[in-house]
Amino acid sequence: MVYAVVLAARDKRIDWTVLGAVGVVEVGLVAQLVVGIVQYAATDRDVSGPFFIGYLIGSLIILPIGAFWALAESSRWGAGALAIACLVIPILELRLHDLWAV
């Protein structure tokens, strides 16, 4: 279930030029945080709590900061900065997936 949310979030990131798409991904990430915490609380496997929760929370703050940073520069470099922020999300998702798989 976490993985489904993960994939959804990753698919959406292709539309990084549209701030709305970033917003959708962000909502997905919030859902992922909630689902992730619920799943973490329910599992009896040895998932590294601080790292897992840390990555879940960390993934939330990347896009807003990236969007804010990108908006202040109205050129292609601003979009590039946002692209960097978006690029971080799948990396975090892969790490999350590894952490969950243990």
């Binding site: 840390g54 960390g58 900061i65």
Partner: protein, 130 residues
Amino acid sequence: MTDPAATKHGPGRILIAVYGVFALAATARAGVQIATKFGDAPIAYLLSAVAAVIYCAATFALAKATVVSRKVATAAIAIELAGVIAIGAFSYAVPDDFPDATVWSHFGQGYGFVPLVLPVLGLLWLRRTR
């Protein structure tokens, strides 16, 4: 001396974004490592913390883009470059001292060698916008 604010515009925008990501990642990583298992590899975790501080300093100094902050950024990035080379070399030479990875171990291999490339780009960018 041209407008120091040029540092944060154009390609600098992307450079600072990447620095921000590393500042965040290094801070979070060092925080969790030190809080949860400091005894396992104190040297590595302290170095993680040092790296985190340097990344944060470089990010904010580049983003502030004043005459003074450019000097701070230059110093921070120079230390960063020296650090990644030194830690990278040491982590190969005496791996026993590095039972757990830092951001700079093996020249930043765990981060796609970005930590090695980033300070070079940073210094070139500061030079170019001088």
